[in-house]
């Protein structure tokens, strides 16, 4: 009696295990998902200017780090708040974006009187935003400048200034209303 019961227990559970294991193995083979598309998707979201402000050697490595959870979604200063939101959405994480203020957009500006035409900035600019040739005064094409400050750092005469982009009547828009309609109760002990 006991032996029979024991054997049947052993047998039935083992069979169950074997069958289910086989099924799962089969399923795994036939329902396999190819490689991580996530990384590529994330890289597509990043600005792609390879500026390195995030502390990674460029957007590719930054994307790898993001995909593996090794970097916060708020890592990329040029991308600002909008990018952080997009990344958070993509990665399914929630972040407190209150701290991620969009910093004012800066672009490089060359003081022509000081530029000696050394072409150092020209060579460094990752987006070819600086135009000019050797021994010629250089100028920045503001629409292409990402404000990465690389030219600013290399300029031997410090003739490059990072200037905030000024709004025009075309780009100005109404500020968000002050939240005094609903005080968020932030005064509470927390």
């Amino acid at each position: 009696m006991h032996e029979l019961e024991m054997l049947s227990a052993l047998f039935s559970l083992t069979t169950l295990g074997l069958v289910l294991g086989a099924l799962l193995g089969l399923a795994a083979r036939h329902l396999k998902v190819e490689g991580s598309a996530l990384e590529a998707e994330i890289e597509a979201l990043l600005p792609g200017s390879q500026c390195g402000q995030c502390g990674f050697p460029g957007c590719g490595p930054a994307a790898t780090a993001l995909a593996s959870g090794g970097a916060p979604v708020t890592l990329c200063p040029p991308g600002g708040r909008a990018l952080a939101e997009e990344l958070a959405d993509k990665l399914g994480v929630t972040v407190d974006l209150a701290g991620v203020e969009d910093k004012p957009v800066l672009v490089a500006f060359v003081h022509e009187s000081l530029c000696i035409g050394c072409t150092k900035c020209f060579k460094r600019c990752p987006t070819d935003a600086i135009v000019g040739g050797p021994k010629m005064i250089h100028a920045v094409f503001a629409d292409a400048c990402t404000g990465c400050e690389q030219c600013f750092e290399v300029c031997p005469t410090e003739c490059i200034e990072m200037r905030a982009v000024q709004p025009t009547t075309q780009t100005w828009y109404w500020p968000k209303p002050a939240a005094n309609d609903i005080d968020d109760g932030r005064g509470i002990a927390a």
Partner: protein, 218 residues
């Protein structure tokens, strides 16, 4: 999880199956041993529990054999079966205990009713109920001794008119704000006593029944 690092053989279906099968076998073996080691004492503990609740409605003085050794199963005409536990002293059935139930405010109230051979209530205890705490749960002995009011009652004490809560003209107290619960309990006990009157013949006649005698316990 590890993808490329996994050795080839691991991706075989046989390996998966074997793994799960192996673990299943191991688990089964472990549990079997566990079961082997514990089943007897578990069964014993469960009987002890049963006896403990039976002794609440049947005084120890009334029996000298195990309360579990003289069970009787009465099957009603509708097919529902009632297990009657019987107290036997000197070969005589001195008291019986069985389950009765009533419809309370929030579902069934199950009670264990002990009756002596003369049809007098020895005790009533609640087995399970879902009445409102603080309102209907005064039928538990732990909350209130209202349930002790049934001790010593019988079908003649009081008479049929008396077997109601006060509000309905009977002699039993209701709880303030909750009449449905006591009404249900009173009705259930009353019904239980009538059941005893109907079946007292079977219950009190001691027919040795080896099958139910199989288990013995303290």
């Amino acid at each position: 999880m590890k993808g490329v690092l996994e050795p080839r053989f691991r991706q075989r279906i046989g390996y998966q199956a074997g793994l799960l099968g192996g673990f299943a076998a191991m688990a089964a073996a472990l549990l079997m041993m566990g079961n082997l080691g514990t089943s007897d004492s578990i069964a014993q503990r469960q009987q002890e529990d049963l006896v403990a609740s039976l002794t609440q409605v049947i005084p120890t003085a009334l029996y000298d054999e195990s309360l579990l050794s003289n069970n009787l199963v009465i099957t009603s005409s509708e097919g529902s079966a009632t297990t009657v536990y019987r107290a036997v002293r000197n070969g005589q059935v001195t008291a019986v205990a069985y389950e009765v139930s009533g419809a309370g405010y929030a579902g069934e109230i199950r009670l264990l009713l002990g009756v002596d051979a003369g049809g007098k209530t020895l005790g009533v205890r609640v087995i399970s109920h879902a009445e409102t705490p603080g309102l209907g749960d005064k039928i538990e002995l732990a909350k209130d001794d209202w349930i002790l009011d049934f001790n010593g009652r019988s079908l003649d004490n009081p008479d049929d008119a008396g077997w109601h809560v006060r509000k309905d003209g009977g002699i039993f107290d209701q709880f303030s704000g909750a009449t449905i619960t006591p009404r249900a309990v009173v009705a259930a006990v009353h019904e239980g006593l009538r059941y005893f009157r109907v079946h007292s013949g079977e219950m009190l006649a001691r027919i040795p029944d080896p099958a139910t005698n199989a288990v013995t316990g303290g």
